[in-house]
Symmetry: C2
Subunit: 361 residues, 2 copies
Amino acid sequence: MAKNRRVPETRLIDIARKAGVSSCVVGHVLNGSRGNSRVSQKTALRIREVARHMNYHPNHAARLLRGRRSYTYGLLVASAGDPLRSFLVQFLDAEAVKINCHTYIGNTIGKPTVGPNQFEAYVDEFARRRVDGVFCAVHHWWPGDRNYLLTKHPHTVFYEDPGIPQATYVFVDREAAVRLAVRHLAERGRKRIGLAVMTLSRPMHIARRRGYEAELRVQGLPLEEQLIFNAEPYGDAFARCIEEEFKWEFPEQIIYHLIKALIMRGRVDAIVTHDDFWAAAIIKRLVARGIRIPEDVAIVGYLNHYLADWTVPPLTTIDLQHLQAAQQMVLLLEKMITEGPPPVGKRSFSIQPRLIVRESS
Amino acid sequence: MAKNRRVPETRLIDIARKAGVSSCVVGHVLNGSRGNSRVSQKTALRIREVARHMNYHPNHAARLLRGRRSYTYGLLVASAGDPLRSFLVQFLDAEAVKINCHTYIGNTIGKPTVGPNQFEAYVDEFARRRVDGVFCAVHHWWPGDRNYLLTKHPHTVFYEDPGIPQATYVFVDREAAVRLAVRHLAERGRKRIGLAVMTLSRPMHIARRRGYEAELRVQGLPLEEQLIFNAEPYGDAFARCIEEEFKWEFPEQIIYHLIKALIMRGRVDAIVTHDDFWAAAIIKRLVARGIRIPEDVAIVGYLNHYLADWTVPPLTTIDLQHLQAAQQMVLLLEKMITEGPPPVGKRSFSIQPRLIVRESS
DNA sequence: CTGAAAGCGCTTACAG
DNA sequence: CTGAAAGCGCTTACAG
């Protein structure tokens, strides 16, 4: 019975014996954080040779226990497959790997075994595993005690403003995003540009309206209340995860109300949509009614998910620059870990989105 | 300067002092693997109370060092964002979480810092972190020394046959998959059903051809060599990852040859495609040429990626049952870890795919 | 330039 | 039913 036996790993002491030195010398040569000037070149070389030959890999647990960093970041997301965040997750991991760190992913979607407080459960798990810091990319409308997170892990960088004073975060400039979209549509001759948003009750979303109004003014276009569709009154507009299936449920009925409000009543000739999934759903419904995209109505998305390449017609959208956001977040967290938190007042960092023109506008 | 200080975590000894017992009693009550009969109910209760109150979380590194399992599985994938595998990755993680394990994801896409042998680098990293076992879901055409993996981690479960004798793996029954597709198309009256595959030089892909031919025979349909398109002669047909961008590059020129071969020469009225991405690309090209889907040509995909819901028309496809595969893989690996590898000859497990009918057929 | 030794926080065989 | 103590594999202050 093979059972749980594994080939015993080479230890520091094995190298030391083979090389005929003490283990502390080996430690200095192979894993030493300080300069290695204390060991002779020749010895160091021999030790490295032996280590390579014996396929030595330092025991991570032992180093951790001795107080070294874990070189691990906790990463909180609703789900690693969350279509709104999957590229951010990927980029965060890739950037972490570049500096020899690893991301420990905590999905906050409720699992029966973990119980309802999965967010908090992962905050504890991160503590157990001694992560160096945490990225929180959980949507603001997802449950989870952000204050508890900050208490247990002062080194935390959020994606989007968590609404907690003094928190450090990276956010996409939504005002600029909508201005880009509106300017583009105005330049293409659109006169009645609509805005469709999930909610207007959070600062980050109010920024969209602000950008929308500012750019309409610049373009000399009329500002009518009926050109703005806010999904809030129509019930829970947020994408939900169907627990069993891990698929994101899209609130289809919202699209029905949206078309009624913006197309029928508002008679828009363009819509700046909440995100690419909204955009794709709107395009589908409009095409089914014989409305031509972009001839009759132009559509602009928000995210630049790879879905945007596959809609018919392909979607003009706002790229959220997830790679740039990820780079910024890793840089920030690493700096927090080594140098402490940034000064108050310099804890938020905006990412400038980019317009990607395809065929829906 | 806050620096790298964190709130000191509660230790076992802190609980012991507070509860007025020795740390070994506390260890037995809180983390003991054996029955706790050796400690009185009353003491145990008090200890648990104190632990909860002091927010105790056992130090993972210390337990690991003492020889306990890491409750961590290594997971090798080309990239966590690989569109062909992302749901499998998600499900594997979710299933692992259910039994209180964690998946440590190793992306084998080459990073400059890790060097060209990222597969092997992660095999070593998994050893350092003392994972209990490994899932390998890397595509067969991706580089990486699978034998080295098995040497370092005898407890490994592959997704799809790695072509190594005695390896344990879960695979999708491709023969059954293609038969489902062909039968469905025949039932809808299609007479000239084409098959498009990336390669026929690996057993797993030859299975597609086998299923195709077998079902055509059953349906009494003609078997013509020109109805089979094998992309191999047209150069590197595999999706590639563009390093900088982490986007999957689709081999578009293949589609051109495919249409020429199957539509122009073969005059097919249906195509069973290599996967959903091929299917989506084919649909796009055909629609652009004025060919109607499914009236003129029916298309069936393979994978059931969520993209399949967004093509126009929505894609009829074969669902690969990734959830079921993930459950099987976790079950298998856990059993290997606790009871040793399954007997030779019982090391491969097939997953039966399912036909999902949408509007492209 | 190098070595002997303490200790990180647990687990567990051993002794009462 | 409970405690004293060794030891997992490292790191590092201390002593030569």
